[in-house]
Symmetry: C2
Subunit: 119 residues, 2 copies
């Protein structure tokens, strides 16, 4: 039978900080959870996919060319493809990310790549 996933439980099951855990997929999009702390990524662009961030627990910011957007638990934002952005993380945050499979790589995840599959 199909299984539900509790986002916070899944985030706490990652193998430590910066380790993406794939919790499922919807059509051609991946669902990943990750915990991050004290890391600011370089500005980057995803050319092929919008990118959805949902804050499960904690808070962080996304910096765009025209300013900073602060996100707290329960907040969601979609970064349109082609939009320069970078996550700015100080205290620990647990996030859900959704994007087309193949969008994430070492250069836009702070060195992490897909290392775990929950299912």
């Amino acid at each position: 039978m199909l299984e539900k996933v509790n986002l916070l439980t899944a985030a706490n099951q990652t193998n430590g900080l910066f380790q993406y855990l794939k919790i499922g997929q919807i059509n051609n999009h991946m669902l990943n959870v990750v915990q991050v702390e004290n890391r600011t990524l370089d500005f980057h662009v995803h050319e092929q996919s919008d990118e959805l961030f949902y804050v499960i627990e904690g808070q962080f910011a996304i910096e765009l060319d025209d300013g900073m957007i602060h996100l707290e638990a329960g907040d969601m934002i979609v970064i349109p493809k082609g939009t320069r952005h970078r996550p700015v993380v100080t205290t620990r945050v647990s996030c859900l990310l959704i994007e087309i499979e193949g969008t994430l790589n070492a250069s836009n995840t702070g060195g992490s790549t897909q290392t775990e599959h929950r299912d």
Copy 2:
């Protein structure tokens, strides 16, 4: 500048029960929030898209051919395309739904269709 959306705030901004509010999109997928209470839909299938449910507040169940899955706040599930299912809602629940645009119609939303656009 891009805007974030707080899911609970958005759910509380819908025009009453069973009214889908589009809060954004990711690639070809729609992001909708809805509040539902005391409604069981007919079994149905989405042939063209997986369907993601995320419980923002409250609880409900999804009935499949092989059983019932109970979901609470913070839980997420993806119903693969082609899978017979129906939501079973008793007490009020606020949900996020994600599916390919064009998937939802009157017959699989309990009579509601897309009536509001937040942006």
